[in-house]
């Protein structure tokens, strides 16, 4: 990282995420069409930005976490993942009580379908922390852009 960033911890997840996310935003902006955007374009751009934020968070975390590995893999082969999810959609069984909630949590945390409960909770804790950071940084960026 650059020396003038030494006021913050350059290796913190927050810094790395902000850096990666801004780079991704720039790359997205570069490929933006010059014509005034249609609603469809806006929706596509929104999805791209959302995906970019998740991807940059996952790559900032690295591959040592299960959920970030899952996010990166999902983004790398997105079409395949969508097809698989469609196939799996009919197989979801309804359970009751706590199991149902755990399954819901599994669906929320990326890559949680293949985890046991213990590591699922571990990954959930880390994922919540990263999501909080992500929201914070994105809100700061939006505030900067809109004020």
């Amino acid at each position: 990282m650059t020396p003038h960033l030494s006021s913050t911890n350059p290796s913190s997840i927050k810094t790395r995420f902000a850096y990666k996310f801004l780079r991704a935003l720039k790359r997205l902006n570069r490929h933006r069409p010059t014509s005034p955007p249609s609603p469809n374009d806006i929706f596509r751009g929104f999805r791209m930005i959302k995906m970019a934020s998740y991807a940059s968070m996952a790559s900032a975390v690295g591959s040592r976490r299960g959920w970030s590995r899952a996010v990166l893999r999902k983004i790398r082969c997105r079409a395949l993942e969508i097809r698989r999810r469609r196939k799996c959609g009919g197989m979801i069984r309804r359970r009751s009580g706590e199991r149902n909630k755990v399954d819901k949590l599994r669906n929320l945390v990326p890559g949680g379908e293949a985890m046991d409960l213990c590591s699922l909770l571990d990954e959930t804790a880390h994922y919540i922390g990263c999501l909080t950071t992500q929201v914070q940084v994105m809100r700061n960026i939006v505030d900067l852009c809109s004020t």
């Binding site: 810094t15 791209m48 949590l105 992500q134 994105m138 852009c145 809109s146 004020t147």
Partner: protein, 282 residues
């Protein structure tokens, strides 16, 4: 065959003087042929092990119930071993049958002695191990094992231990999560905590969606004005992420500093429009 075995077990377990007998007993067994050879009657009954002998033995035992108090009977047998000739010769068939019955017991108790001695060792070992709470699956007598487990309310086999460790781990993680999710500390119950966690993750993901929507709208509104923004500034050195990270630094500094130009243009050109658009959709 059963009553002598039971007598033997109770005797060896209860009688404190059993050590002498257990030490004594192997020798008579070894010296049996010699003695038996000297005593023709006993030898015949011994070698026969017949049902008739057994029946007679039982009938005699009925008559000598008072003598069946374990140690006394065996001590008497030991005496009869020492002074066997006298007893056999002087007394009638009672002693003979008794001795034959005891000899049957003796032949069984050769095995029984070994077995009971190993059992006693296992008992002491199991006591030590239970005291140490070691998880090794020794083969203690099952009654003791179950008894101790019931008393302590803990299972010590490996599956239960693993399951308990897993449950402790899970509750520990749940505690961490409770600390992480705001307003989750007061919630009691695993299902409710999970509910809170799920809601929090969903809200965070919704916030991410909302913020990326905001960003997209800001960018798309601004974009036509800045189609020719310089690509040199896209290098990583131009980013001053510290302002974005903490948000506490004033924006002026950010604008003055090494800010990419597209952000500046966004800020200056379409501030009002972007703000208007952002507030309306949600």
């Amino acid at each position: 065959m059963d009553p002598p075995i039971i007598n033997e077990a109770s005797f060896s377990a209860a009688n404190p003087s059993s050590y002498s007998l257990t030490e004594i007993w192997p020798f008579p067994i070894n010296g049996e042929p010699g003695i038996g050879g000297g005593l023709g009657l006993r030898m015949s009954s011994l070698s026969g092990f017949g049902e008739a002998a057994m029946n007679r033995d039982l009938s005699v035992d009925e008559s000598t119930v008072t003598e069946q108090s374990g140690g006394g009977r065996k001590r008497r047998y030991a005496n009869s071993e020492d002074e066997s000739s006298r007893l056999v010769s002087t007394s009638s068939g009672n002693d003979l049958n008794n001795s034959s019955g005891k000899r049957m017991k003796l032949s069984q108790s050769r095995d029984e002695n070994g077995g009971s001695r190993s059992e006693a060792e296992a008992n002491s070992e199991s006591g030590n191990k239970l005291a140490e709470k070691s998880t090794k699956s020794s083969e203690p007598p099952k009654q003791d094992y179950i008894h101790v487990r019931a008393r302590r309310g803990q299972a010590t086999d490996s599956h239960s231990l693993a399951e308990r460790a897993r449950r402790e781990k899970i509750s520990e993680r749940m505690k961490i999560l409770q600390d992480l999710v705001p307003g989750c500390n007061k919630v009691i119950g695993k299902a409710l905590v999970l509910d809170e966690i799920i809601n929090y993750i969903q809200s965070l993901q919704c916030q991410v969606e909302f913020l990326s929507m905001k960003l997209e709208v800001v960018n798309s509104r601004v974009n036509p004005h800045i189609e020719g923004f310089p690509s040199k500034d896209l290098g990583p050195t131009t980013f001053d992420t510290s302002g974005m990270i903490f948000g506490l630094q004033p924006t002026r500094e950010y604008v003055q500093g090494s800010q990419p130009e597209w952000l500046q243009m966004q800020v200056h050109n379409s501030f009002d429009r972007a703000k208007h658009d952002l507030t309306t959709p949600h």
